[in-house]
Symmetry: D2
Subunit: 362 residues, 4 copies
């Protein structure tokens, strides 16, 4: 498969930045699942640029669900969500058509699609497509919450400014899901935003790290070879533009530990198996152990910057210099956070359905 | 899918540590591909414990190919490789049957398989299964080499001792593939081994980081949503036991960079597009750009250590203390390196076949 | 998978009879394939009821392609086609909501979706959904024609009236594709229509047999276990509502033959291998042999008839009698013919892409 | 996928007629399912030639299960079954290597595999491979029986001799599963065998029709687009060599009926929905309705006959005449019957697992 993710529950994304609609089709969800439109709208809002530290492209993301839902309940057949592209200014991008923006997909799209790709606004590679992913993921995330499974993501680091660690996960997740700028420590927000604006003032951009926690997962979900929880989550996460790394539990830090430190010793608490540490991020042998799933992704700085950069024209195969103009984000970490929530929800729903059957989620 | 990886070329793994055979079935490879038995045997040897810093379990890994190959050429139909388990001492593990080894899959296997799992020697979760993955990957890796695509992995770090950076990739990869202990800097080997043995003397274990380079990849391979090169490689890598993180190009370090530093500026060299830096690890928008694919994985320390650890008996649901005895590796990083080579080869073959058709590899 | 068909090229269908849109997403088609809107519109027209012998529900099927196409060329990313439902009269169906129409999917939908299914007009089970399949298939069918592969389907039998046999396939297929009522023998049309109208006058309905020929197929396409040409074509055909049987080549008649009659003896004609007979329908061992692919499907009579029938109310679990009113087709065979063309084209495209790579079709 | 069937539960087949082993890997079965070796052995015996009306090639089919089973219970991880090829006489076939046997896969294998295929004894296309399918299917079929789902197949017709219709399905299925030559009417056996032997005496072969009944299926299983029950069953059935047609319920005969006859009127019997007739074969809209699933396949006469036939040498591309010698079956219908049982069981298990989760079957 190509533009479809998932085994038991699958999501297909379609659309281009400057087409009429972008959209997603979710297949395999049980019937009778409640669709909470406020919840979806809220997640879409969190993904949108906010004018403060983001690109001025504003869209209402007035999604519509054109199939698979009646009276706010899933029917059990494919759910297609459409989001119209409202604020299309193709002119901004026309001069870039054959000049590759460094670290964008312009050149690789050319290699793969041989000149037929939609290059307007990044086309199918645009971060815009993540709106459709968020809509699909919002449906899944809300459904998971009805089963006691909660997902929250914070900006662990942005522009080299770090947020505090997760502490009380239940409270932290609840707090994060109510925030526009998802940091755990209130004071971090101001510092991060200043650092972002400082880079922006330089015509530059910044990256960061997103950290996600998932609580309430049943034990025994995931497959040893090859659909491990880490394998499935990483597979979908690397589709989110700008993600260049992912780590679970202690992640790369575990590689410097000795076994006696890294091992999560086990206890019984209220009749449930728990571990003292969670260096494995809730997953052993690819399968959930009932502890929270914890992972972090590395988000690269937005590739579009307002500085001249050496690049090539792939049509003439000549070297040139590019200095983008127009609207762009100096950072996307704070927006990508809700995409990460959404993508997590999709992967988790799929793994649960594979384990317990399509109807489990209901 | 569960125990199968891949779209156009797929690999299914089966077997348990103490069963009669472990094995792999590779489906989708074109007919007429040469099988180089020395090459396969060599990769299997590299995966095996070497007695110096590894567990004394020695097996010859006398694999046999029982289908899909005639006169050392693939027929185009599924290739099944069997590897007998020779050195089986179930007794070593019998007392552990319901006492979970911390950070192993014992407890999660119980949650998923409800007491029916094969717990002898880790069963289907044993690192032993990677021998079958290596055999399958060796076939793919050799086939890729005939097309000018080379893969090499070094122990970037082990027991907190670091190897040098990749330099001349062509030479480094060639050198690595001839080495038993895969470090680029000869002097590192001694220091690393000492650090491993030091941990071993303490009854402890160590982890590390593996770094892989893939050169010769055609441009335009990979899919934007969701089968990106990063998505496919990470999916298979997280099946390798002990992997807890993966990063491409600059990886997590890119999250601290500004865009002006992170962006890979583009040039033309001998009529081919190249980038000055390779912070994106050869991949933009999930698609290869012709630069080397570079990624690193975080390998956790071997969970089995000879120190008492708190754990639980999942049958009686009581807390207990475990102090493993028997044979175990103080480190597996140096052995996992060839597994990473093999898994990479499988993912790359699959993506090439999806792009260019099954016969391309021939 | 559920609502997706295909390996290398996949089609997902979504939508309900009385929703805002029905649609299809085609993934995996190469970039640069020409989209011929007249061709698509024509196939949609052929599927539509024509007022003469069909239901009066008239819709223009003003499809739009909202992704994956620019300037009438595919971009290589998912193509989503939407078709608005214009002529929605939910009232016609409201009384049937819990009374199962015999031989319809009303009761099985209830069993599967537990009361959450969209029952208006058959919902996701409506023949209306085939319009989306036709749109997707039309894109594939036109692409195949550019490569010299032609598909044609005739109404072999309807209301017990038989058409003549295929004769000159090239000419017959060309002729069929220009006809509204696809019979090879002009005189059959009138007799068939009279038989259909006669059943209609009785408040009854009729079925028939559709026969498809595919010429120009390369040899060597298809997989022995399990994605044989027959397996893939039958899989998609049984999704077309009302299909209850499929046979290739001589089909069921071959079971009465002796081997000496059934075997297709082989010759060489103009440097190409041909067979004297084509009892295997162009397929041996699941793989194309270069002869025309020939198959027939059994189409059951439209289940909605204007006669009282015993049935049940699945909500109250009581027996009752149903006498449908409203608009319905006395036959759908002549309309299903273009659905069969379309579904064939999708399956063939997928198999070719699996064999020769995504770009082959271009 | 190619050599793998199924979504939630999958079966991969490997091996060649004259290799060391043929085999199957079953993935996705829940843990704790009982393996009944007598049951498997019995089904393998039913598939074997019996010397009376079949080829003298005798093999014990001493299968072994090398993974995924401990103490006769599934572990939940992939189950690999190996069956050794004992009675290998490659010499019989050596002269045929480039002379295509009409209606065999010799020529299409050449087209697909370009001379690298294993042509000894039909290689991967040999009916021998169905032994592995039977072993895998036997595991599934026994598991289904523990859940009250029973499958039985009879030789509905062979050599133009017909068996009686199904009557009391429970009794008929029980009787069939105990029979070597699966006909419902005892008297038919003798007549059929005589007809087979008569063809054999002429150096010729015969085909037939197999009819399968599946009882005890829960309602609501199957998917509308595209994984309908008919779609999934037909997909796997067309992999069984010699199958050229399949029909469900009334099948092709339904195409001649009027709706008022074809429609299955519905009643309530002991609180369960039933239909008066079963022209839809237990399936509406691709989904089970709780009535027995009934289908028939058309089996072509064995292509190997002892009469001279015109054919081609695909290496020299010249016309020639072939007169096979050696061991061959004048009919395989009576042996294919157990293959059809097995393949049905695999498809049914997969659909149930997709619907109710992996653990349902347990």
């Amino acid at each position: 498969m190509k533009n479809t993710f998932g085994n038991s529950i699958s999501v297909t994304l379609f659309g281009e930045s400057h087409g009429e609609y972008i959209g997603a089709t979710i297949d395999g969800l049980a019937s009778g699942i409640e669709i909470n439109h406020d919840y979806i709208a809220n997640m879409l809002t969190l993904r949108r640029p906010d004018g403060d530290i983001s690109t001025p492209r504003k869209e209402n993301d007035d999604y519509k669900i054109i199939s698979g839902v009646i009276e706010n309940k899933t029917t059990g057949t494919p759910i297609t969500v459409l989001i119209p592209n409202e604020n299309i200014k193709s002119g901004d991008y026309s001069q870039m058509k054959t000049v590759a923006r460094p670290s964008h997909a312009d050149y690789t799209a050319e290699c793969k699609y041989h000149g037929y790709q939609d290059s307007r606004g990044g086309g199918h590679f645009s971060g815009r497509i993540t709106a459709a992913l968020v809509a699909a993921g919002a449906i899944c995330k809300y459904a998971l919450e009805q089963k006691g499974i909660y997902i929250g993501t914070h900006v662990k680091k942005c522009a080299c400014v770090s947020d505090r660690e997760f502490d009380n996960l239940t409270e932290d997740i609840r707090a994060l899901n109510g925030k526009t700028f998802a940091v755990l420590d209130e004071k971090t927000e101001k510092t991060m935003k200043e650092a972002i604006l400082s880079a922006s003032a330089d015509g530059d951009s910044v990256g960061g790290v997103l950290e996600t926690a998932i609580i309430g997962m049943p034990e025994g979900v995931g497959e040893p070879w090859f659909d491990s929880v880490e394998g499935m989550i990483s597979h979908i996460m690397f589709s989110v533009p700008a993600v260049k790394g992912i780590e679970f539990g202690a992640g790369f830090a575990i590689s410097d530990m000795r076994g006696s430190v890294a091992n999560d010793q086990m206890y019984i608490e209220n009749g449930k198996v728990v571990t003292a540490t969670n260096n494995n991020g809730g997953i052993n042998g690819g399968i959930t152990n009932g502890m929270p799933i914890i992972f972090r992704t590395a988000i690269k700085p937005t590739p579009t910057i307002f500085k001249p950069q050496n690049t090539i024209d792939f049509k003439t195969m000549t070297e040139t210099v590019i200095t983008p103009t127009g609207r762009h984000d100096p950072a996307i970490v704070h927006r990508a956070r809700v995409v990460q929530d959404a993508a997590s929800a999709i992967a988790i729903c799929d793994m649960l359905a594979m384990r317990f059957g399509t109807d489990w989620i209901k």
